[in-house]
């Protein structure tokens, strides 16, 4: 099958590759670019573990062709913070125990990122609605919601954070 060229901006870096048209965005990110922070969960558009931002909007990258991201900006979990300089949302999930196994967390954080960009001070109902496409199978959602509320506070203060013991 003929390969085609795709180019997009991933975490503020231009990336291009020759790919099979059927390549999914999640596979492009993980297998072509080695960005394995984006997880493959259900593969059926349910769980949201593969959530990335496409031009600032959260999408399930297992249900997007890499070619649909042509010319667009993609942000993955690797693009919003590092171990030494955590994004406030990452810091908040850490502080409020918003994860247990961590598998759903990249998706939870990116969906929260989109929400907080649009609504800096969301109430619980709004948070629950915004995260309704992201499933967590271990903690339940109470601590995740606490984390997003706390992240909103940290963002207001302009706080980023360092991973404990990272130095």
């Amino acid at each position: 099958m003929t390969k085609v060229r795709v180019s997009m901006e991933v975490n503020q870096q231009m990336r291009d590759a020759q790919i099979e048209p059927r390549l999914l965005l999640v596979s492009f990110l993980r297998e072509e670019l080695g960005l394995t922070g984006t997880h493959v969960g259900c593969e059926t558009t349910n769980c949201g573990a593969c959530t990335v931002l496409l031009d600032g909007r959260g999408v399930k990258s297992c249900t997007v062709l890499a070619l649909q991201a042509e010319g667009k900006k993609v942000t993955t979990i690797e693009g919003i913070g590092t171990a030494e300089n955590l994004n406030p949302i990452q810091l908040a999930f850490w502080e409020k125990h918003g994860l247990q196994c961590g598998f759903c967390t990249p998706g939870m954080i990116l969906a929260s990122y989109e929400l907080l960009e649009a609504e800096p001070d969301p109430d619980e109902k709004v948070i629950r609605e915004a995260l309704s496409g992201n499933l967590c199978r271990c903690t339940g959602y109470v601590n995740i919601i606490k984390s997003v509320k706390y992240a909103a506070k940290l963002r207001k203060k302009g706080m980023r954070g360092m991973r404990k013991g990272a130095a």
């Binding site: 059927r22 059926t44 558009t45 949201g48 997007v64 496409g133």
Partner: protein
């Protein structure tokens, strides 16, 4: 889980897309947002040899107030419809429906044109279009035509579109005398509904219902127009007895089949409950104004 291999086409105009569809015929599928098509391709339920991506055709994403209707471009994302102030003010039923489709992430990719063209009987938008008497604009290289929503949905996954035609715009009637609501019963967030009901009422100044459109999601091979239910509401005041009779009629007009979301009997019972709630919600919308 990956789709089978296919050739990818990214036309820059509707005419070009249409001529590609003519060239490849039944081996080709149009791609809009892909939120229904890509899952089907990953499950290998559908394996087109040619995929014609409509995503790079400029000028198909818009919401415009054209006086007696909202014109919505086929590639407008469901999320944009859900967050549009114009839609919320001028056509609350559409806003309400958009908020209930799948989940926020799917809505960010999914488009109104894809939702309608896919013609899944459990998709929510078709009922809203049929209840409201919307029009659908189909275009090909040879020009365009307007198809009433009531004639558009032919069968499961089957519309009145010809192979070379592309849904390019939806015309959603609006006006100060129209009140609409869409409610659905679902097992869990993001799942397809068990039953959905769209109700659009045309009200006179003295509070009578002049005309009504009722349409049902998930209880037939395609969207079901509950014609008798609409007729019962016509020309009368919307008291409890009238709403009960219309809801019973809608339940009788439903053609449910049993599946993992419930038995046919259960779904029919839920159509009655949900129709009653939806008519009341639409009527309440009037009182709020």
């Amino acid at each position: 889980m990956n789709p089978k291999s296919f050739e990818y086409h990214a036309p820059k105009s509707v005419a070009e897309a249409s001529s590609l569809a003519e060239e490849y015929g039944m081996d080709a599928k149009f791609l809009a947002g892909g939120q229904s098509l890509i899952p089907l391709m990953k499950l290998r339920l559908l394996s087109p040899s040619h995929l014609i991506d409509l995503g790079r055709i400029p000028g198909l994403s818009y919401i415009r107030d054209e006086g007696n209707h909202l014109a919505i471009g086929a590639m407008e994302r469901i999320a944009e419809i859900a967050r549009s102030d114009l839609v919320r003010k001028q056509c609350p039923i559409l806003s309400q429906c958009a908020h209930q489709i799948a989940d926020p992430l799917v809505r960010n990719m999914g488009t109104i044109g894809g939702n309608l063209s896919h013609a899944d009987p459990t998709n929510d938008m078709p009922a809203v279009m049929v209840a409201a008497g919307a029009s659908i604009v189909a275009a090909s290289g040879q020009g365009s035509r307007v198809i009433p929503a009531g004639d558009f949905f032919v069968d499961t996954f089957t519309t009145a579109l010809k192979g070379t035609e592309i849904l390019v715009e939806v015309k959603m009637p609006i006006g100060p005398t129209r009140r609409g609501a869409y409610l659905k019963l679902e097992r869990q967030a993001g799942d397809f509904g068990i039953v959905g009901v769209a109700a659009v009422l045309e009200m006179s100044s003295d509070g009578r219902c002049v005309a009504a459109g009722i349409a049902l999601t998930g209880v037939g091979p395609t969207v079901v127009k509950a014609t008798r239910a609409g007729e019962i509401l016509k020309g009368v005041e919307l008291d409890k007895n009238t709403i009960d009779r219309a809801s019973r009629a809608a339940a009788e007009e439903a053609q449910p089949s049993g599946d993992l979301r419930g038995s046919a009997e259960y779904k029919r019972a839920m159509v009655e409950v949900m129709t009653s709630r939806t008519i009341q919600a639409a009527a309440r919308r009037q009182a709020e104004r």
